[in-house]
């Protein structure tokens, strides 16, 4: 749906069925014409295989092995453990499974709020900035700053702002506004969830804004003019024209935001370090810790595979429902 196939190039695409019909003797022959696209794809294909697909297969294999630091150099010979890693991982009464389940639920909750807020702010900002007004260009530049800043620089700054004793946040809510009896902790305990959410939304909404702005440019002006002639006010135009026109863009945007947020490692890692507080223990950090802190790569891989399965199922269902919804509205 996002990769619309290029329009058929007329008769030339059916040349295979008419070997004698094409009088294009200048070209060096059919073999090269057919293999050229494959040659062009080869570098991309090899790299994707090497860095994504082969490691994924190895990850799946490792999830059935008992891989600890002793077998790291010679991981192929690590003993098979069957489904042990999986049964350990999904045993929600035992510590490993219990921690994984809680981390998974935290991630779901976090993703829901983060994606929702990013989408809401990004869409509102794009709609408000659809019409030209004085300072619009400068404002757009400012709004893209969080997107452009390297994650670690931005998140370290937020970590400084959320420090208990010398941070800006506690200075405002405790010293200046007097809202709390004692300055709260933001990077440990239950508040860490809120902290992570604030930072994640700050970093993530400009992408929604960017995509929405691009989407808005594709709505023809005439529709608005026609609606204005019919007496529709600005708010009505937004509700009846802008929002419905953005639906196809929305569907892609929300999926991308979901995948990025659910897999986000950088934000919690820079904010909290290698072990996040339980309230903000996102799944990617949890798996990292299970693999690299305890050196139990088998269980870590099993968790990764389960995560991938979950993402595949959610994405599949999402695509199914959104495309069905779209064909229903088109009909």
């Amino acid at each position: 749906m996002t990769t619309t196939a290029p329009p058929p190039t007329g008769k030339r695409t059916v040349r295979k069925n008419h070997p004698g019909a094409a009088p294009r003797t200048r070209r060096p022959g059919r073999l090269r014409r057919i293999s050229l696209p494959y040659l062009l794809l080869l570098p991309a294909l090899v790299l994707e295989l090497l860095v994504h697909l082969i490691p994924m297969v190895i990850g799946i294999v490792v999830s059935f092995k008992e891989l600890t630091q002793f077998h790291l150099r010679d991981w192929g010979n690590a003993p098979w453990s069957g489904l042990d890693n999986y049964s350990l991982t999904v045993d929600f009464d035992a510590p490993v499974g219990e921690a994984l389940l809680s981390s998974f639920l935290t991630t779901c909750l976090f993703t829901f709020f983060s994606v929702g807020l990013c989408w809401l702010i990004g869409t509102a900002a794009a709609i408000f900035m659809q019409e030209t007004f004085r300072g619009r260009g400068i404002l757009r530049t400012i709004f893209l700053v969080p997107y452009a800043l390297p994650v670690y620089a931005a998140v370290i700054t937020w970590a400084f702002m959320f420090q208990r004793d010398n941070g800006l946040v506690n200075h405002v809510i405790h010293d200046q506004l007097g809202l709390t009896d004692s300055p709260p902790f933001w990077l440990i305990g239950d508040n860490a969830f809120v902290t992570l959410l604030v930072v994640s939304v700050w970093k993530g909404w400009p992408f929604a804004f960017l995509v929405m702005m691009a989407g808005l440019q594709n709505i023809p002006r005439e529709i608005y003019e026609a609606a204005a002639l019919d007496g529709a006010g600005v708010w009505q135009q937004i509700r009846r024209i802008t929002l419905p026109s953005l639906r196809p863009v929305n569907q892609v945007l929300i999926l991308v935001l979901f995948l990025w947020t659910f897999n986000d490692f950088n934000t919690p890692f820079v904010l909290f370090g290698k072990s996040a507080p339980a309230s903000a223990d996102l799944i990617s950090i949890h798996i990292y810790q299970s693999s690299f802190q305890t050196w139990n790569f088998g269980t870590g891989s099993a968790m990764s595979v389960l995560l991938l399965l979950f993402l595949l199922v959610v994405t599949g269902l999402y695509l199914l429902f959104t495309s069905r919804g779209r064909s229903a509205t088109d009909a």
Partner: protein, 279 residues
């Protein structure tokens, strides 16, 4: 017809609040980077009592920031160049040719976007170690390994965006070039690439930002000599103290290349997204 007052007021309030939210960390970064250490260690001050540029000199001595900077520049720069060139070839093939397996290719490449990085971190580490043992090519801990990894991170998005962009270049143009005697690659480089410059710039900016900001693989796959900024910035905290003024100064310095480049080229990014991603 002028928009009603309710719209203008909502717009003013919303955009003002949002600007404050966006700029708050930027203000903290800049103002704190100009404070002496005792000021950033004590209560936060909105208006610095004394200004000093000393942190900007100290950051290079506390940690070897210059080396990290160089590493990041080499890694991100090379990853960008390779990724863009490879994406151009792949997108050209998909946009201009019909061939068996085209759909499988685009779907596979796109779906690698959804893999959690953590899933292939360990296997990739194992592969790099094994390649190193077998061939003597040091990928683990080297810049080459990191370049290889990073260039594939931006590749799917780059290919995806460039397909859309190339599709919007009229076919008549490259057909005409072929009639004039250009081969397929000649048509690509003389006609399509020049016409798609905004899209290519957008893709390059994206690739550079991805590599410049990556944390997970940088923290596992580098050693003392190849450490990038993503890992190096953590060096300003010691057992006893965090040099927050230096952290902020260093954050500002490492942000300048990407933010500057991005803001200069943002117009291309928006155009690129319009033509590519949003279809």
């Amino acid at each position: 017809m002028a928009p009603p007052k309710s719209f203008l007021v909502s717009r003013l309030v919303f955009l003002t609040l949002l600007t404050g939210f966006v700029l708050l960390p930027v203000y903290v970064m800049i103002s704190s980077s100009l404070k002496p250490l005792q000021d950033v260690s004590g209560k936060f001050q909105w208006i610095p009592s004394g200004l000093t540029v000393q942190p900007y000199f100290d950051i290079w001595k506390t940690v070897p920031l210059g080396d990290y900077f160089m590493n990041s520049l080499i890694v991100a720069g090379s990853a960008t160049v390779f990724s863009v060139v490879i994406a151009i070839f792949a997108a050209y093939a998909v946009s201009r040719y019909s061939f068996r397996g085209k759909r499988v290719f685009t779907v596979t490449v796109l779906s690698t976007q959804m893999f959690p990085g953590i899933l292939f971190l360990l296997p990739l580490f194992l592969i790099y170690v094994n390649i190193g043992n077998a061939t003597g090519i040091a990928l683990f801990g080297s810049r080459a390994g990191l370049i290889l990894t990073y260039l594939t991170f931006s590749l799917p998005f780059s290919i995806w965006m460039l397909i859309g962009y190339f599709d919007s270049v009229p076919r008549d143009l490259d057909e005409a070039a072929k009639v004039d005697g250009c081969g397929p690659l000649g048509a690509l480089f003389r006609v399509i690439v020049p016409a798609a410059i905004p899209g290519i710039v957008a893709v390059a900016v994206y690739a550079f930002m991805t590599a410049w900001g990556e944390v997970l693989f940088a923290s596992v796959m580098t050693n003392d000599a190849t450490r990038t900024l993503a890992v190096g910035l953590q060096g300003y905290s010691t057992q006893n103290d965090v040099y927050w003024n230096q952290v902020m100064a260093a954050s500002l310095v490492v942000s300048l290349p990407v933010v500057g480049g991005f803001l200069l080229l943002q117009r291309y990014l928006v155009t690129g997204l319009t033509a590519g991603a949003v279809k």
